[in-house]
């Protein structure tokens, strides 16, 4: 759905995006993750033909960008760096104008607007102008605009900005549902939790470079350690001497590959088990391992 080769963008002397090779497959929920100022938004803008690359190639929905971006955009919906609407007009009127600008079919316009508003939870919104909208409502309206043309590909830049926890959950469920119906979702975010909860594939960008791109499942591999919570930590340590890497009260970190075998061993030695689980890497571990400090920090934190 999205392929880039050696995508590069230079603003004067600043290298904002440095030779990025993205590969987003059909049906992915792709998380484009990176600290602030790492080049995420510039990359998204290049995918949409808003910013012209300095070097490299882009293909979106099989069309060359920016040359043939006009052929790709009708099948694509996007939210770039916050929503935007004409402040003195109502939400519906805004959507109607945007749809007319895209030469959307007038016959189905009203139905598509209502459908989009319903999906994002604005079905009952009144005629108030969008300048009176809350940040969350604006975000939802922006999403509705992206859904107007029933896109095959959604490109969303920080879509849950300004939403409360309930709203974030609703949007996540909406995106999963759209994805199940066949929409590929490309989500750029600096929020680990958002990506971890939603995405199936992850690309991590740092200081303009794509430092990692893989399935989330593969990234969150077992670490070869098992976490044990037991009321008998003393006997557990005695039993597993040498394999215990860490002890924090009743909680132990044990170097072991096989949870079932370990459980058997503990039970046989009459060590009571309150909790036993294989340790997995969190996305945070992965990100911290591959990225440096964000480009919005200058100097170390003391």
């Amino acid at each position: 759905m999205i392929t880039t080769r050696g995508l590069t963008k230079r603003f004067g002397r600043v290298l904002a995006v440095d030779s990025v090779d993205l590969d987003v497959h059909e049906g992915d929920r792709y998380g484009f993750l990176g600290p602030n100022g790492s080049g995420k938004t510039t990359t998204v803008r290049m995918l949409l033909g808003l910013v012209y690359p300095t070097g490299g190639e882009i293909e979106v929905l099989g069309k060359r960008v920016p040359k043939h971006v006009g052929d790709a955009l009708p099948e694509l919906g996007a939210l770039v760096e916050g929503p935007a609407a004409y402040p003195h007009l109502s939400g519906r009127r805004n959507l109607s104008l945007f749809d007319a600008a895209a030469r959307g079919a007038r016959r189905t316009r009203r139905a598509r607007i209502e459908e989009a508003l319903e999906r994002v939870g604005l079905a009952k919104v009144d005629q108030r102008p969008t300048r009176a909208y809350s940040l969350g409502m604006r975000q939802r309206l922006g999403l509705a605009a992206a859904l107007l043309n029933r896109p095959r590909l959604l490109v969303l830049d920080e879509p849950t900005n300004g939403l409360d926890p309930q709203g974030i959950k609703e949007i996540r469920e909406l995106l999963v549902e759209l994805n199940r119906e066949g929409t590929t979702v490309f989500l750029s975010s600096h929020l680990l939790v958002e990506v971890e909860q939603l995405c199936t594939r992850v690309g991590i960008v740092d200081r303009g470079k794509l430092v990692l791109q893989d399935d989330l499942g593969a990234l969150r591999a077992a670490t070869g350690r098992v976490l044990l919570d037991t009321p008998d930590p003393g006997s557990a340590v005695a039993l597993l001497d040498g394999r215990v890497e860490q002890r924090d009260g009743d909680r132990l970190v044990i170097r072991h590959d096989d949870v079932m075998a370990l459980n058997e061993q503990l039970v046989a030695a009459r060590v009571r088990v309150r909790e036993l689980a294989a340790q997995r890497r969190t996305l945070e571990d992965v990100v911290l391992e591959v990225t440096g400090p964000g480009s919005d920090s200058f100097g170390e934190v003391r």
Binding site: R45, G49, L73, A84, R93, F98
Partner: protein, 278 residues
């Protein structure tokens, strides 16, 4: 896209407020003239004003002369300056472009929308001032000659004009003023693609206007005068001479066409190759 821009124009309160203000100036002047009950000497307070007292149907031309030097260009500068920069500032520009709206199509729609706005504004000014003129000054029967032939306006050359000829001349003048304003709008539209600040672009356009007006009064600037954007602006008055004095009108039309071509071209060249980062 032109339809969308026109809908935006109509739905925008600013459009109607600015037109109201444009109509207000001639209305205020007319009220003062009517209550003072003596004609200003020729040459004071704008063209036609002395003639208007005798014939209200001439008032639209007087109103044009009142709003043209400053009021109308300010309204045009605000509208054209906002055209691209305004959408850039609210962020709607990027959403229009990814709908998708081609950049050339968008820019053309913007210029057309400004042209429609100018035309509408002038037509509204003409119609309201016609109504005001007729109500306050009557329709041209010479004072004291009750029952004299009505609607026989006097041209700037002192010849009587029939009312059908007056309508044609007024139409010509309106079209000429519209084109002059669109030429000015093209300059401001170009500035609007350069900056993200609508007010900056509008002020830039007005700076061009003021510079041009100042140079116009400067003898040392004689070589460039025929090319100044405001040089032939007042030539619409020539429609009210008898016979119509076409020389300056022709030059004016050619010059404005040149400004539109050059600055719309520059706006296109800049906008089509620009990174949209806001």
């Amino acid at each position: 896209m032109i339809g969308v821009e026109l809908r935006k124009l109509v739905l925008r309160p600013r459009t109607w407020v600015s037109m109201l203000l444009l109509c207000l100036l001639p209305a205020i002047v007319a009220v003062f003239l009517a209550t003072a009950d003596f004609a200003p000497p020729p040459g004071q307070g704008g063209a036609f004003l002395s003639a208007v007292i005798g014939d209200g149907t001439l008032y639209p031309a007087a109103a044009l002369a009142l709003v043209l030097p400053l009021f109308l260009p300010i309204a045009v500068a605000v509208a054209a300056g906002d055209a691209v920069a305004g959408d850039a500032a609210t962020g709607t520009l990027r959403y229009l472009l990814i709908r998708p709206v081609g950049r050339t199509r968008l820019l053309t729609a913007k210029l057309v929308s400004v042209a429609v706005y100018v035309t509408l504004a002038i037509v509204v000014v003409v119609l309201t001032s016609l109504a005001i003129g007729v109500v306050l000054f009557g329709t041209g029967s010479a004072p004291g000659a009750a029952g004299g032939t009505p609607a026989a306006a006097v041209s700037l050359s002192g010849v009587q004009l029939s009312s059908s000829s007056l309508v044609l001349r007024l139409l010509g003048a309106v079209l000429y003023v519209v084109l002059s304003m669109v030429g000015f709008a093209a300059i401001t539209l170009f500035l609007s693609t350069v900056t993200e600040s609508a007010i900056g672009a509008a002020l830039g356009g007005l700076a061009v206007l003021i510079t041009s007006t100042v140079l116009e009064t400067l003898d040392a600037a004689a070589p460039v005068k025929p090319f100044l954007p405001t040089h032939y602006w007042l030539s619409w008055l020539d429609f009210f001479r008898d016979p119509v004095l076409w020389r300056n009108i022709d030059h004016g039309l050619l010059l404005q066409a040149g400004y539109i071509l050059v600055f719309f071209g520059a706006a296109w060249a800049n906008f089509a190759t620009k990174d949209v980062k806001n």
